[in-house]
Subunit: 423 residues, 2 copies
């Protein structure tokens, strides 16, 4: 006996980059939380079942956030008058060191998990801090709130302040212990290997992490080519490399499913290496602007067939909201287009494209979609735009555009994660 | 007998560009709504009077919005995949034509006025549509909500669609009639002469409007050097001019108190003409990015001593929020800085600078400030950041930065306009 849930409303998703697919007054049916289909007329087999009438509301796939630093939630929107490396030293490392206290972590991560859900993000690829215990707390709180995805205990054994640094041995043994403790402990949250970035990891640590990723068959996340000063530093630390990505590649961490945040300055060669390896770009436009790293060449990446999805990058990003990330992705792309002399190959992101990057693209990372795909567990947001200013009758596409730019979590009236209605 | 109101809390304002002045646990005293002073210790003369204890909250000057299109409120966040001139024809003109119906105008403007207040904007320089009656409705609704400032009936007699166009004669006679009707009718809202922009006004209309501005001794608002195609068009229409601004200057509208929106592409000569004439720049960063006009040279303008204040430019801007405008001003300035090769003369806006442009700069346009100045009517916002994520103890400056980037109207706990507590 299957549990059937029928949602009726305006259904909008993006099975293809650049196009909305809209169904007005249609039915989205799940069976045991799995999508059975979108139907303009309710099939006979569901006749007589209760229908959740979401008249006037819009149902879209929920958001994914491919790069977000959980411990930095407490410093969101702060310190942006500083560039990346100074910002790390002045703000970030100090705040992250507070998570040595698991009780402190509990208070913050409980709230973080609930805010993610409230903003419609149900799947994440997330950095914790270097603390093993606090990382478990984070995983527990996400799982409890109904969020799915990957969390990584951060590794850093050099170029880090005393109060936020491990020895190489500690870093590796704590990571192994954490991976062992994760076995069977979480249903929806999985571990991911997480060297902070090349400057904060010795070669020995990198090599050890690469081996762990292989041994446990789990993916890797880190940072790549974010900022000029950082790139120059990596080149100094790895004089044998031509490009930043090689510092990950040589330790077995450049592989299918690896997520690299930023890639603002990745040139053709580095981008080709991503494409060939199946490495994902976590595009973090707000962060790249806030700490003026630059504007990532997203149009080129998409044209080249790279896997790109949106990320908040809190706290380089100022907001958890993926509506905000999508708006800033469009804004940044328009300025890149403008500064290119309005070249075709730098064409800005349209609203349907940003929507795709916010929903379908990330879902693919988790093996789902694109869009609402039969057989997938339902991840969805129910949007209520009646609280926005009065307007003429709008098309579903216009309604989505307005909701995106309004970026108001009060328009998020319901959230479904992994088939479970959690708001 | 004076009515004294004493606010106690953390008081933050920006009497000078680039610096916060912060008073923790201090008193802001008004007498009959006028600022009597900020005091770290309450003066003897106020001893024993009731004190409104805003413990934990922050009191800042309220926001000014130097350029906003009231009728476009109903299309906020829509059509941004199009550049300026196409966006006007596809969306804007159609929506504006609906205000021929004063009852429609009433419903929209009532809500607009309340949303402005809810977002902490108490002083505006605003475009209405070309409709005289709807313009009165707008002025009434703003006045009723407690907002102060300028509203202009729009003038347009060419290059406009049939359904949103006047004859030259109509445009001038309706404007004169409107100005006459304004006499003695409003206490806080004043009229301002408003040619839409050069392409939509014949020389005859421009000349007539220039004379009206002189005869009634009132200021002028319009658009200037927003977008390349627009600038080229103005040059075609006025082949005798070197620069866009001359198309206003030759009709007597380039004068002290004139507000020009955008000025994205104003070069040194045009900027010098602004400085010499006392013309104000309404800097609309979100709009300039959304319809990819470019990034205005705000740092240069400030270095040169121009009068610049922030504007939402709804609906080229996607939000009424001046926190949002400030955030986008900082973001855009960082990308301009980045693309300049990080040149000193293009240094990005800091948070205290954006705060100044959002509060003190605009207040000066209205003859007040900078900051909380003795003798001015109080315009203030009471901010509650307790709803933001947990954090360590923050300085007042850090709290303001966080509030700015959070851009959440739920942090606006109270609003005072012209000495009156309106929220």
């Amino acid at each position: 006996m299957k549990f059937v849930h029928i949602y009726k409303g305006t259904i909008v998703h993006a099975p293809k980059l650049g196009e909305f697919e809209c169904h007005e007054n249609a039915y989205l049916v799940t069976e045991n939380g799995m999508i059975a289909g979108i139907f303009d007329t309710l099939p006979q087999k569901y006749a007589g079942l209760w229908v959740e009438d979401l008249e006037g509301k819009i149902i879209i796939p929920s958001f994914t956030d491919l790069h977000v630093h959980a411990p930095q939630y407490i410093m969101m929107g702060m310190g942006f008058d500083l560039p990346l490396l100074e910002w790390l030293n002045t703000y970030t490392f100090k705040e992250e060191s507070r998570y040595r206290d698991p009780e402190f972590a509990r208070r913050v991560y409980n709230r973080l998990a609930h805010e993610l859900i409230r903003r419609g993000t149900t799947r994440v690829v997330m950095f914790s801090s270097l603390h093993r215990e606090a990382t478990h707390v984070l995983m527990e709180e996400l799982e409890r709130a109904g969020i799915t995805g990957y969390v990584g205990k951060v590794n850093m054994d050099r170029n880090s302040p005393d109060y936020l640094c491990e020895t190489t041995e500690e870093s590796l043994s704590e990571t192994r212990r954490w991976l062992e403790e994760c076995r069977g402990r979480y249903q929806y949250i999985k571990p991911i290997i997480t060297p902070r970035f090349t400057p904060s990891c010795t070669d020995e640590l990198m090599a050890g992490l690469g081996r762990l990723a292989e041994e446990y068959d789990i993916p890797v996340q880190s940072h790549l080519s974010e900022n000029d000063a950082e790139i120059a530093w990596v080149k100094e630390l790895h004089p044998d490399t031509e490009r930043y990505y090689e510092s990950y590649e040589k330790f077995g961490m450049w592989k299918k499913g690896t997520v690299m945040a930023h890639c603002v300055h990745s040139d053709e060669v580095e981008r080709k290496a991503m494409l060939d390896a199946g490495v994902w770009v976590a595009h973090s436009p707000d962060s790249n602007t806030n700490i003026y790293s630059g504007i990532a060449p997203v149009r080129k990446m998409l044209n080249e067939g790279l896997k790109v999805a949106l990320a908040s990058d809190v706290a380089g990003g100022a907001k958890l909201s993926i509506f905000h990330a999508a708006g800033e992705a469009i804004r940044a792309s328009k300025l890149r287009y403008y500064y290119s002399g309005k070249k075709e190959e730098e064409a800005y992101l349209t609203v349907p494209e940003a929507f795709y990057l916010a929903t379908s693209a990330g879902a693919e990372y988790f093996g789902a979609g694109p869009g609402f795909k039969e057989g997938d567990a339902l991840h969805a947001i129910i949007l209520d735009d009646s609280i926005l200013p009065p307007s003429r009758d709008l098309t579903p596409a216009e309604r989505i555009e307005r909701l995106l730019y309004a970026d108001d979590d009060r328009t998020i009236a319901g959230v479904v994660s992994e088939g479970r209605r959690i708001i």
